[in-house]
Symmetry: C2
Subunit: 147 residues, 2 copies
């Protein structure tokens, strides 16, 4: 191996072990699969659960703030609302005060599904925290510092 190759080999090993982007993607995939499985009986995915959860507010929210809270692109949120609208869990309405804006509203059916899903979340998340050990608050703080 040339010098250039050994340098690259060492660098890639270091990155495999230290890259926070890689570590975050892996954890995100593993957790998504886990909660997707747990929520499947209720017909929603982990991402849809998070979105329904955020939309459970007294006053309807617009898309901008929701996208920001979820750290996702506005256009991704537009796409993510489609299946939820089709399932009748969420209603998207033009804001009469500013017709560029949309009001995102959880329907009665949406609240019903959310209520059932919350029960699943509670047991699954408790099991998760037990499994991973360590200090979950510290982990949350670290993740919050990134997002």
């Amino acid at each position: 191996m040339t010098r250039k190759e050994t340098d690259l080999a060492e660098a890639t090993i270091h990155i495999r072990d230290h890259c926070l982007c890689l570590h975050a993607q892996r954890a995100a995939r593993a957790l998504a699969r886990r909660f997707d499985d747990a929520l499947r009986p209720h017909g929603i995915t982990s991402g849809q659960f998070s979105l329904l959860n955020v939309l459970n507010r007294r006053e309807p929210v617009a898309m901008g703030p929701v996208a920001k809270f979820l750290a996702m692109d506005r256009s991704t949120l537009t796409a993510n609302l489609k299946p939820l609208e089709r399932q009748g869990l969420v209603s998207v309405e033009v804001d009469p005060d500013d017709r560029r804006s949309r009001k995102l509203i959880l329907t009665a059916e949406g609240r019903k599904v959310l209520r059932a899903a919350v029960a699943v979340w509670k047991s699954e998340h408790a099991a998760l925290e037990k499994e991973i050990g360590g200090d979950p608050d510290a982990l949350r703080a670290g993740l919050r510092a990134i997002a």
Copy 2:
């Protein structure tokens, strides 16, 4: 608000603040965007960088172990290899010793792109760790416990 509604409202607020799945997805999205931006000049995304990085081995690896390491579905890996093959960065070859299996090989061009991307990663990741503060090793350990 009925009792059932106040209970749900409290639960959703708790989940917004504590759900590790949500926190992980947010961090993953934010980091992916950040490294996508940094790597764009070299024509690869953050996920493609992680994959190229993993494939930089002396002996070619098969798909199964790579998918496992990345905590992703095998079929996702199949899909992710397509654009890299098209760009000539990776070569996928049938393993003569077991023709069900594939050998994943980084091409010379792939190594070249990887080498340039590694330089970007070093500066970007150093900046990231500085920004988020805290103990990055502890954060990595937490993420590893999940994946």
